[in-house]
Amino acid sequence: MGSQLALKSRIRSTESLEKIFNAQEMIASSHIAKARDVALNAKPYTDAIFDAVQALVAHTHITHPIAVKDESNPRVAVLALTSDRGMAGPYTSSIIRETESLLARLEADGKQPELFVYGRRGSTYYKYRNRDVAATWEGDTDQPGVEIAETISNTLMDAYMKPAEKGGVSELYIVYTEFINMVVQKVRVLRMLPVEIVGNEAKVPDPENEKAAEDISPLYAFEPSLDEVLDAILPKYIQSRIHECLLTAAASETASRQNAMHTATDNARNLIDALTRRLNASRQASITQELTEIIGSADALNTKEE
C-alpha cells in the first residue's frame, strides 16, 4: 500500500508539472508571433541604413575608424547574447560553449578578450565562476526594444572608439543564435567591428566596371560633409545590426523554449502513463495477494473442521 501512495503522489506532481510545461509552451508559441512582428517592423529601418551605407561605400574609400582595424591593439570585445530565463533547452548553454571556445581561440591568437554579456542566465553563469566580465545587461531578452540595443551599442562603441592605451578594443565579436526556422536555431559568431561592408565589393577592384557601377548607384551630395555623415550613420548602422542580432536571438530563444517545453510536456505525459501502469499493477498485485490470503486461510479452516 505504501508504494501505491508514493506512486499516486508522484503521478499528481508530474501532472502539475505537465500543466506548467504545457502553459509555458503555449506562452512561447504566442510570443513567437510577436517576435516575428517586431522583427518585421524593424526591418525597413535596417534596410534603409544598409542602403545608405552601401551608397557611402560605393563612392568613397572609407578611412573612418569604424571600418579600419588597428592591428597593434590586442584587446578585443566579445558580446554573448544569452537568455534571461531558463526553460529554453540548450539555448544558453550552447551560447556559453561557443563563447568559451571563441575566447580560447582569441587567446591562442595572442588577443586579450573582454567579455560583455546580455541576459541574466549568462551573467549569473560568469558571476558564479568569478570571471571578469566587462559589462552585463539584463532584462527583456525575449522582446528586446530599441532602448536596450542603444545602450549596448553605445557601450560597445565607447569601448571601440577609446584609444588603446585607455582600454579601448580593436575588434568586436557577437555570439548569438540565428533563427533558421522553428526547429533549427544555430549559434553564430559575427565579427561586427571593424565593419566589413560587403555587397559592391565585387565591382570595386575591376576598373572597367567602375563606370557601370557609377551609373547604377547615383552620386550623392553629402550634407553637411562626408565625414559628419559617416560619423552619424556608421554608429546607427552598428546599432541596427546589434538590434537585428538581439531580435534574431529573441526569436531563437522563444522557439528554443517552445521546443524544450514541448518535449518536456511529452516526457511528463509518458512518465504519467508509465507511473499509472505501475500503480495499476501494484494495486492488482495487492488485490491478488489479499485474495490468496483469504482463500488460503479459508482452506486452512475447512481442513481443520474435517
Partner: protein
C-alpha cells in the same frame, strides 16, 4: 507621373522599431543638421544627417503631414526619399481624412 517633370516623389519614413509612414508627396521639409531643408521631386541625390525637429510632408492634394523626429538621416535618390530616424511619430495631420 512618368512625365518629363515629376510632380511627386515617393516618401518612406521609418523609425528604428516600426515603419512610420509611406506614400507620395509633392514636397518635404526636413530638419537637417545645418538648418531646415526642403526637398522637391527630382532633387539631386543627397544623403544628410537630421537632428531633432519636425518633418513636414505635403501630399499631392495639399494635405500636410507633420512628424516629430529625432536623430537620423535621409537619403534621396531616383525620386525616392528615405527617412530613417531613431524615434518618430505622427504629430499632426491637417487635411481631409482620405
Amino acid at each position: 507621373m512618368a512625365d518629363s517633370v515629376k510632380t511627386t516623389m515617393k516618401v518612406n519614413i521609418v523609425a528604428a522599431d516600426h515603419p512610420v509612414w509611406h506614400g507620395e508627396a509633392s514636397s518635404v521639409t526636413i530638419p537637417a543638421s545645418e538648418g531646415g531643408m526642403g526637398i522637391l521631386p527630382d532633387h539631386e541625390p543627397v544623403l544628410t544627417v537630421i537632428k531633432q525637429g519636425t518633418l513636414t510632408v505635403v501630399e499631392p492634394d495639399g494635405d500636410r503631414h507633420m512628424f516629430e523626429v529625432t536623430d537620423g538621416f535621409i537619403s534621396f535618390d531616383s525620386n525616392k526619399l528615405t527617412v530613417a530616424v531613431e524615434r518618430g511619430h505622427d504629430v499632426q495631420y491637417s487635411g481631409v481624412e482620405a
